[in-house]
């Protein structure tokens, strides 16, 4: 177990290093500096030197790379170009709260509604609720999240006017974006749960449970749901990826001061240090989630052996 975790952590580090190196050299090859060319040219050489040094741009490229890696290991990701004099790590952590709030809420909404729909759909197989769930599952993964978010904002936020849109003053501003973000998660969970439940309901032990006279409710809760709910853990990885992607668009649409909107803003403003910082953050976060999901699953379900993980 420990060996497996260490091996996975090793891969994560190698992958991160590849990402950091690729993005670093890609960014350095891009045109543009953080400075206004006109104002920069009227500075004295000493001033130019001073400004370049502040952003660490006066070294040779390999030196800059070594310095960047060194500083990164100390948790220093450099200075932002657009947010003057601010550390990249400060800029990013400052934006973490809103993103985490709507992300967690979206996962919770997705899990709650998805699980209920999935269980009902499998229990009443081929009934109205089953078809409803399947249609919802297809729509949930097919309707692009930015379309869903735009429509929600327009109809519920503007026409109906019950929830605020377009600013960030407190929790009630996070409701609509969380709902918009949760659609794909709901669809994925509902669909997965339904398939799992149908599988479990086919098993012999369900027939045994029914034959020995357990009430429907007990069969459902004690035997069917308990056994089919575990594998849902495995799709948490893809769900988190979906949420990360979704947050880029949803945060922009609802003007949420989170990581997603920061990322898009910095891309448009060519703020390379922040872009790199967020890239590293996203990649590390994603890989840690996947690792945690794998570990959690092996703990919950003893039939899964991690040592065999590489075969799949």
């Amino acid at each position: 177990m420990l060996k497996y975790v260490l091996k996975r952590l090793g891969y994560i580090l190698v992958t991160l290093w590849v990402i950091v190196t690729c993005t670093f050299f890609m960014m350095k090859n891009l045109p543009g500096t953080p400075f206004d060319a006109e104002r920069f040219s009227i500075m004295t050489p000493q001033q130019q030197e001073r400004v370049l040094e502040m952003y660490g741009l006066n070294d040779s490229l390999p030196m800059q790379y070594v310095k960047y890696i060194k500083n990164m290991l100390k948790g220093d990701l450099g200075t932002s170009f657009t947010y003057v004099n601010q550390d990249v790590s400060k800029v990013i952590t400052g934006r973490l709260g809103p993103s985490a709030l709507i992300g967690i809420q979206a996962v919770l909404i997705g899990l709650a509604i998805g699980l209920i729909l999935g269980i009902l759909a499998a229990w009443k197989h081929n009934s109205g609720i089953d078809y409803f769930t399947m249609i919802l599952a297809v729509l949930g993964v097919s309707v692009p999240n930015f379309v869903a978010a735009a429509l929600l904002q327009y109809y519920i936020g503007l026409k109906w006017g019950v929830l605020p849109v377009g600013f960030w003053t407190g929790w009630n501003c996070s409701v609509l974006p969380s709902i918009a973000l949760s659609f794909s998660a709901t669809a994925m969970v509902a669909r997965f749960m339904r398939t799992e439940m149908l599988d479990v309901l086919d098993q012999d032990y369900i027939i045994t449970a029914r034959a020995k006279g357990l009430s429907q409710m007990k069969v459902l809760m004690r035997h069917a749901v308990r056994n089919s709910i575990l594998p849902v853990v495995t799709i948490l990885g893809p769900i988190v990826v979906n949420l990360m992607t979704g947050s880029l668009a949803v945060e922009n649409i609802f003007s949420i001061p989170g990581i997603g909107s920061l990322f898009v803003d910095c891309i448009k403003a060519n703020d390379y240090p922040v872009i790199m910082g967020i890239t590293i953050f996203y990649a590390a976060f994603y890989m840690l989630i996947v690792l945690l999901v794998d570990l959690a699953y092996s703990l919950i379900d003893p039939r899964i052996r991690l040592a065999k993980g590489k075969e799949s």
Binding site: L16, F146, R194, A283, M287, K310
Partner: protein, 307 residues
């Protein structure tokens, strides 16, 4: 009942030709033909297939047969509502949205096609080579995959779009970096599973060449995995392009991808909802149809998986 009509002569032993006994009356059916028969029974999948064909035909022919071009402006018809002349209305420069929507669909479908081909060529080859050669080759190739899998693909695509001029080519190139990884893993797992099965051993014992074993025994048995995976690659490629264009780092005006159009429509959603609605409907239709067809194909190609 009239008993008198039944007489013994009606009950005679049928003659059975020894040669007829082993005769198979129905023509031999290939796996794909079987799958096609099963797919035809799935009404939702057939409808999805028809809608997709209609969308593809419209994307190819609608811009050709329209008298407008996707970049012609008409300032007398800014945000014109849908009418007989402009079926989907017009946008902020009075450009015909009917033509622009189908031009956008063209771009989306083109990206989807290239993504699918890349998936097929690179993914299948990588997976097959890795599984068949085994040993050190497999180990090295798997380590590379292991690193690539960890990279969130959207981030690579975004970085790529920053480093190179935004355009269809760049988006396709970006998608091709990580797009094939999943396919390679699936194909490798499938071939590893098949490689040691009895029918492959039987082929070997009968002296079939290695090449024929790959082409006749291994590839046909992985077709279902490959087809199904391609059907899920396509909508995700379409989504990625639309998504990038929507947040403003994919394609840009005057090119008309569905994402660009939806972004334009979103800006004026309050006043002119028609600008958003039509491209949004088209992209949702494409995604829904591909995903229903994908499900249908999965059931058709792999009946045991059916739920």
């Amino acid at each position: 009942m009239d008993k008198s009509k039944i007489d013994r002569s009606m009950y005679q032993k049928a003659k059975v030709e020894a040669s007829e006994k082993e005769h198979i009356a129905a023509p031999a059916s290939t796996m794909l033909a079987d799958a096609w028969i099963r797919l035809k029974k799935n009404k939702a999948a057939v409808v999805a297939l028809f809608i997709l064909v209609a969308i593809i035909l419209l994307a190819i022919f609608a811009p050709i047969f329209s008298k407008y071009s996707f970049r012609d402006t008409d300032y007398n018809n800014v945000y014109g509502l849908p009418s007989a002349a402009h079926i989907f209305g017009a946008d902020q420069f009075g450009r015909d949205l009917w033509v622009r929507t189908w031009m956008g669909t063209r771009i989306s479908l083109m990206i989807a096609l290239v993504a699918a081909i890349l998936d097929l060529v690179v993914g299948v080859l990588y997976g097959a080579v890795s599984a068949l050669f085994g040993g050190k080759v497999d180990a090295v190739m798997q380590r590379i995959i292991e690193v690539l899998v960890g990279i969130p693909s959207l981030i690579i695509v975004i970085l790529f779009l920053m480093a190179f001029p935004a355009g269809v080519g760049t988006i396709i190139a970006a998608l091709s970096i990580t797009g094939w990884v999943n396919m390679a893993r699936l194909v490798r797992a499938e071939i590893l599973k098949l490689k040691n099965q009895e029918f492959v051993l039987a082929s070997q014992v009968l002296g079939t060449s290695k090449f024929n074993i790959i082409m006749k025994d291994l590839i046909p048995n992985t077709v279902s995995v490959i087809v199904i995976n391609v059907m899920f690659t396509i909508p995700s490629a379409i989504f990625t392009e639309a998504f990038l264009s929507f947040i403003g780092i994919g394609l840009a005006e005057p090119q008309a991808s569905l994402g660009v159009l939806i972004n334009g429509g979103y800006q004026v959603l309050r006043m002119y909802p028609h600008v958003l609605v039509f491209p949004a409907i088209v992209i949702v239709l494409i995604m829904v149809c591909f995903s229903i067809l994908g499900d249908g194909l999965r059931d058709a190609l792999d009946p045991q998986m059916r739920k």
